[in-house]
Structures are given as structure tokens and as C-alpha cells.
């Protein structure tokens, strides 16, 4: 089992104000770890910190024992960390297949790329039908498939998923979560960042609740599902 990510006491700021103040998390290999929190709690900033799109100003992040603290984003991705970004962020002016190929950008062997394309098309047969269509002309649900498929193309050890439920119907969210669970069963470590508490805790093994830039609760998902602070974090309770 690989894909162990540790975040140690990081502080991240845009301009001067800290958005994250002293966050530590441990993403266990082979598990689904979730980060819960309301809008503005700092969830996306945590992901940006891990990928060093917004490098933390203090603290340390390591992947499989290797520090990421001096690395560029593309080098971190090269270690086997993939991200399905919030809002899908597909390349609208590219075809579906080109979008997927960007996901496998770091792979040089065409054979490997083809094999991964085949795997993605197996999970999402619709993407195969639409391979030559411009991604921007597809429905929201189909774009979500492109975004997930693009993440799968990286064949990551650790898959970071930012708010996959955003803007999707509950049925579709369930479908996506099933895919996440199946990916995890094939050995991919998952860090799932979500607002949607119940559906997330149903598939996650372990979770952290983020509020105003700090971890306020952490524990097994069964425990979190019953925890009152989890509920209050979402309904504006004071901490």
C-alpha cells in the first residue's frame, strides 16, 4: 500500500491573513480520508497547499516519506498525486480524448496511455462515444465524468478530490461516490474534500472537520457521523 501523505502543522496565507493555521493531517495508505467543512473553512486552500499552488508559509508536507517542501507542482504530480479539481475545470476547447490525454501528460509510452484510456472508457462508456466531442459542449454530468476520468488517467497512488458533489444531482453524486469507492478498492489512496457530510462519511474511513482554518474534530467516520461538533461546524456553531 502506497500513497501515504502527511501534513504537519502548516500555515498558509493569501496576502497576509492566515487561511490555514496549524493544520496536521495524516492520509493513511489505501484508505479514503475525508476533509469536511463549510464554505470558507479552508478546504480548498489545504489542497492548494499540498499541491503547492499556494505554498504554505510554515509547516511541512511529505508524501511517502519524501518532503514536498521545495517541489514544484508538476514534480509533486509526478510522484503519483493526482487531483480532480473543484468545479471540474475541464479543458472546454479540447475534445474529450484530449482532456483525458492531458491527464496522462507525464506518461511517455503511447501503449500505457492507450491502456489507461481503455480503462476510463470501461468505467464511463459514454466518454468513449463522445471521445471526439469538444468537452465544453457536454452536460454537467458528462463533464464530471471527464474530470474524474482525467484524474484516473494519471494512475495515481493518491487521488485528491475537491468537492465532487458540487452542482450535481444527488443521484449523480451517489454514482460518483461509488466510482471513488471502487477506485479505492483497487488500491488508490483517496483524500476526499467535501461539504456533503452524510454521503461522504458513508464511503470514508477516516475524517477531519475543518473550521476557520483549524482542525476541530477528527476520527473514524462512524464516530464523526454521530459527533455533534460535526453538525455544528456546518450550521454555524461557535468554536
Amino acid at each position: 500500500m502506497s500513497g501515504h501523505l502527511t501534513v504537519e502543522n502548516i500555515f498558509t496565507a493569501y496576502d497576509r491573513a492566515d487561511v490555514l493555521s496549524g493544520i496536521s493531517i495524516d492520509v493513511q495508505p489505501g484508505k479514503i480520508t475525508c476533509i469536511l467543512g463549510s464554505n470558507g473553512a479552508g478546504k480548498s486552500t489545504l489542497i492548494r497547499s499540498i499541491l503547492r499552488l499556494t505554498p504554505p508559509r510554515a509547516g511541512s508536507i511529505a508524501f511517502e516519506g519524501k518532503t514536498l517542501d521545495q517541489m514544484a507542482t508538476h514534480e509533486i504530480v509526478g510522484l503519483g498525486i493526482a487531483c480532480i479539481p473543484e468545479g471540474r475545470r475541464i479543458f472546454a476547447k479540447m475534445t474529450v480524448e484530449e482532456n483525458l490525454r492531458v491527464g496522462a501528460y507525464l506518461v511517455n509510452a503511447e501503449k500505457t496511455v492507450k491502456a489507461r484510456l481503455g480503462k476510463v472508457y470501461e468505467v464511463f462508456p459514454r466518454l468513449k462515444e463522445r471521445a471526439k466531442q469538444l468537452a465544453g459542449t457536454m452536460s454537467g454530468g458528462e463533464q464530471a465524468m471527464v474530470s474524474i476520468g482525467r484524474g484516473m488517467m494519471t494512475d495515481p497512488k493518491l487521488l485528491i478530490i475537491d468537492e465532487p458533489s458540487l452542482g450535481l444531482s444527488p443521484l449523480f453524486v451517489q454514482e460518483n461516490f461509488n466510482i471513488v469507492r471502487r477506485l479505492n478498492e483497487t488500491g488508490v489512496t483517496v483524500l476526499l474534500v467535501e461539504q456533503n457530510v452524510n454521503q461522504t462519511l458513508a464511503i470514508a474511513h477516516y475524517g477531519y472537520v475543518l473550521s476557520q482554518g483549524k482542525i476541530i474534530v477528527q476520527g473514524d467516520s462512524e464516530m464523526l457521523a454521530k459527533n455533534e461538533e460535526v453538525q455544528s461546524a456546518y450550521f454555524g456553531g461557535a468554536h
Binding site: L51, H74, L106
Partner: protein, 303 residues
């Protein structure tokens, strides 16, 4: 009517040069949202680099075809390095600055290159003769005379336009380039090293300028330090008319502008000195009619 072939050839020749220059503008804009006004002067630099290379190759006693190859390689390598250097050292650091600062910076770089050529090139203020490296002569089809070198240059230019188009739309580098153009941050998250893709993109766009400079030099057998100025304005116009950011638009815009010029020359030979005036007036009318360019709304080819 014997002039028709000549006009056609001339128009195609100029359209190829304009299209190549316009492609550069469109590539730079697509990937960095920058109007790079030093583009024309990079073209000039390529032509002068080619000239020096011919002199050197000649002094070394190389044959004429070899001189041609050396000149072409030097022009392209020089513009590639200069283009990549400008983007890496000057444009990248300014990428979060207001667009006007970037614009001003590229204009200053262009002026610096142009003035440097004028001052430091031997007798740089005056036009330089560019040796004829392609087979002279030509042939008649009916009453029309066709220059052999012009035909070679048009084919080479069209092939290079095709090559750049292929690189952008079908190579892995082109894929990365388009990803960076559309969403730099997501491109980085996919493992693309944009700190390398951007200079390479500028190198590609600048090579097209170097190539255009060489075509110009070989066709007109004369270059001068300010040749890039008008070519840049025309190339930029062509890119805008085609819809900035759209590769096909740039190519069409280039041939369209050359077509307008050629039409003026062919229809009113006595007014041929005014061909740019007429062409720009027609473009002004066209832009007023289609403010976003001819192909802007389709936009799928943006790089």
C-alpha cells in the same frame, strides 16, 4: 492580363509572410494573453542573423545550397532563443502585472532590438543586400511569368504554417500548450511544467517570425533594420481580423490582407504606392462590421 500570374504569386507570397507573423501573435496571445510587440523586430533579427550566416558560410567556402540551409537554421535558432529568452526573463516575471505594463515592455524590447541592429550592424542604417540563394529564373504559363524562387518560398512557407498547425493540434507539446492556454493552474495540476512550456511556446512563435524574415529576405533580396515594424502591424492586424487567439483566423487574416493589397495593385497600378492605405481602410471597415474578428466566436482553435 499577363500580370495576373505575377499578382497571384506576389499575393500568395505576402500572404504567407503575413500569415506566419500573425500566427506568432495569436500563439503568444493564446498562451499568455500578451500582445508581443517585439515580434516584428525578432523577425528582423532573424533575417539579419541569416545574412551574417550567409556571409560566414560564404567565407568558409560552402556551396550555395549549404549557405541557404545554414542561413535558415541560424535564423530559426536565433529567433527561437531570443523568443524563449524574452518570455522567460521578461514576460514571465510580469505575468501578474497589468496588461499595459506587459505591452509597454514588449514595445521597449522591440525598440531596443531594432535600434541595436541599426547601431551595431555594419552600415546598419542602410538597407542590406541579401544574396540570392535560390535558383534564379522561372517559367511561363501562357502569358504569365512565374519566378522559381517565389514558388519554392510559397511552398516552404505554406509547409511551415502546416507544420506549426500540426504541432499545436496533434503533438504532445501542442496539447500541453493548449492546456496552459486554457487553464494554466489546472494544466499544472496535470503535471505540466508551465515554466518550460511557456518559453517553448514563445520559441515556436518566434521561429515562425524567423522563417517569415528569411522568406522576405530571399524574395526581396533586401533587408533593413525597420522591416519588422510594418510586418508586425500587418501581422497583428491579420491576427485581429481573424480573431485573436485563433490559428486559422490568423492564417486567413494574413492571406486576406495580402489579397486586399494585391487587389489594389492589380486594379489600380498607378495607385500601388497606396496599397497599404487602401488595405488598412478596408480592414477598418471590416473590423467595424465584425468587431470581434471573423472567426472569434467559434474559438475552438485557440491556443
Amino acid at each position: 492580363m499577363g500580370m495576373i500570374g505575377q499578382h497571384l504569386l506576389n499575393g500568395l507570397m505576402q500572404g504567407t509572410i503575413y500569415g506566419l507573423v500573425a500566427m506568432g501573435f495569436t500563439i503568444f496571445f493564446g498562451v499568455m494573453n500578451v500582445i508581443k510587440f517585439s515580434h516584428g523586430d525578432v523577425l528582423t533579427l532573424g533575417a539579419f542573423g541569416g545574412l551574417v550566416a550567409v556571409w560566414a558560410a560564404n567565407a568558409l567556402g560552402l556551396s550555395v545550397p549549404l549557405q541557404f540551409i545554414v542561413a535558415l537554421c541560424v535564423a530559426m535558432a536565433l529567433t527561437a532563443v531570443v523568443g524563449a529568452g524574452i518570455s522567460h526573463f521578461l514576460i514571465m516575471p510580469l505575468r501578474n502585472a497589468p496588461p499595459l505594463n506587459m505591452l509597454l515592455m514588449t514595445m521597449m524590447v522591440g525598440t531596443a532590438i531594432r535600434e541595436a541592429i541599426r547601431l551595431f550592424f555594419p552600415n546598419g542604417t542602410n538597407p542590406q543586400r541579401f544574396p540570392e540563394l535560390l535558383p534564379a529564373g522561372g517559367f511561363n504559363i501562357g502569358p504569365s511569368f512565374f519566378r522559381t524562387d517565389a514558388i519554392i518560398l510559397i511552398i516552404a512557407g505554406a509547409a511551415s504554417i502546416g507544420a506549426v498547425y500540426w504541432i499545436i493540434n496533434h503533438s504532445k507539446f501542442g496539447l500541453a500548450m493548449r492546456a496552459v492556454a486554457e487553464d494554466t493552474e489546472t494544466a499544472r495540476v496535470m503535471g505540466i511544467n508551465f515554466g518550460r512550456i511557456i518559453p517553448l511556446t514563445f520559441a515556436l512563435g518566434s521561429i515562425t517570425a524567423g522563417f517569415a524574415g528569411m522568406i522576405y529576405a530571399l524574395y526581396y533580396s533586401e533587408i533593413n533594420y525597420s522591416m519588422g515594424l510594418l510586418l508586425a502591424v500587418i501581422g497583428f492586424t491579420a491576427a485581429i481580423v481573424g480573431g485573436l487567439g485563433n490559428i486559422w483566423g490568423a492564417i486567413i487574416g494574413g492571406y486576406l490582407f495580402a489579397g486586399l493589397q494585391t487587389f489594389v495593385v492589380a486594379a489600380m497600378p498607378s495607385m500601388s504606392d497606396y496599397k497599404n492605405v487602401f488595405a488598412f481602410v478596408l480592414i477598418i471597415v471590416l473590423i467595424t462590421w465584425r468587431p470581434t474578428g471573423l472567426l472569434a466566436e467559434r474559438g475552438s482553435e485557440r491556443v
